[in-house]
Subunit: 256 residues, 2 copies
């Protein structure tokens, strides 16, 4: 699977709990390849505890003593950065990075992508950024941009999954296309004709009340038309509304 | 500022650490309004510890004993859901919800948005979802969709910020910005309380008809709640609907 070709690389993470939270964040989005470069404490019970069901990601994690070695097989390397740097790398936001990465993997069958996350305290060094083809910048609150390591991974993993799902759905027939049961028909959007039928019924019921001053109640009907158009009614909802109108008509002894 | 009109509402959070992590996730994206409904432990040192610089969000948090009360002033209420449900609410992904919310706040000067997050263990109940106009579904890994509470908030807050930044960057002065007459007040989105008033009136009128088989007509009311929630009613539209109901009541000689 394509998402397994994306490696999340944590460079010298200090807190084992963060490694666990990163594993969880990855797995929720279908990522499975975790790489640890010189983790301070790993394996560690806190990592396992915070992984909460994503232990498989920890178990399969690859551990390296050297970043160069860790990413030697990658065909696209990107780094996350929170600081402004003197040397400016090509910078993209998470969504654009995700698109770049998915496109890269789609067009490179043997490709793999490494996304580097730096130390909790100080991020990646300039030397480490030199290994990257581009940098990711999350456009956070300038007054408080301190994203937790797992939160940064969560956002990237989320954008990667969204982009991957979009790519897949562009290639596959819609799963809805074969549904045809009565339940699903009732949940379908009503046609314009069904909506008009409801509105005519509503108008006729309203006209039998002392409520309206003008006949036909053009202005009122215009507003009601807009109101029900906004609701994007289903077939079932039209049935319910007309059922209520019929019950009112019956009480008022109107024929409809 | 627009982002401060978005309330992150945690319903019965169990772990104080999660409340702190949520505060941090919010602040990194510029959100500041945190609402807690029946938190198990709050204030708590673990919340403060994990907020890590976002204590201001905790200090300003509003605490309620009742969800209805917590969201009574909101003009758009959305809920997060991880489960499949029998009744299907209108469902959007985080990006579309963010667009809807920012658009709603841009066109409703007095609007406010509430985004509900359920309990860590079991999410939101169906009754709580009934208060929502739409649900958010994060398209997570079907084999492991267990997002941490703060991670779910992080993703939503991220999409809200991205959408807000985008809106600001291609923004022109809003034509609504200098309007404040009663006409425009009537065109504003109705509050949850106003919508509830309409729904209670509707239920009382319906109960007086021979239409309903069960009392109270729970299933029917749930569907009608959803229908009118989808319509994102304005104050004026609520007035029109209640006017019609009153006219029906009068014909049927009901006191309301």
């Amino acid at each position: 699977m394509l998402l397994s070709k994306i490696k999340i690389v944590l460079v010298e993470p200090t807190h084992p709990g963060n490694i666990g939270s990163v594993a969880r964040a990855m797995k929720t989005m279908g990522l499975s390849s975790l790489v640890l470069v010189n983790p301070k404490k790993f394996p560690h019970y806190e990592a396992s505890k915070l992984a909460a069901g994503a232990e498989s990601v920890l178990e399969q994690a690859q551990i390296y003593g050297d970043l160069n070695e860790a990413i030697s097989e990658a065909t696209l390397v990107v780094g996350t950065s929170v600081r402004e740097r003197e040397i400016s790398w090509p910078t993209k936001n998470p969504k654009d990075i995700a698109e770049t990465a998915i496109e890269h993997l789609t067009s490179n069958l043997h490709g793999s992508v490494a996304i580097l996350f730096g130390r909790e305290s100080s991020g990646l060094t300039n030397d480490e950024m030199d290994l990257c083809q581009m940098q990711i910048k999350i456009d956070a609150n300038p007054e408080y941009s301190s994203l937790n390591l797992a939160s940064a991974v969560q956002i990237l993993a989320y954008e990667l999954r969204m982009c991957w799902l979009k790519t897949r759905s562009d290639q596959m027939p819609s799963p809805d296309s074969k549904l045809g049961t009565s339940y699903h028909i009732r949940q379908q959007a009503a046609t314009r004709k069904q909506l008009d039928g409801h509105l005519e019924h509503l108008q006729s019921t309203i006209e039998s009340l002392n409520f309206v001053k003008s006949r036909p109640p053009t202005q009122l009907m215009r507003k009601l038309t807009r109101l029900y158009a906004k609701a994007e009614l289903t077939v079932e909802e039209i049935q319910i509304l007309r059922g209520i109108l019929s019950a009112i008509d019956q009480e008022l002894s109107i024929d409809n």
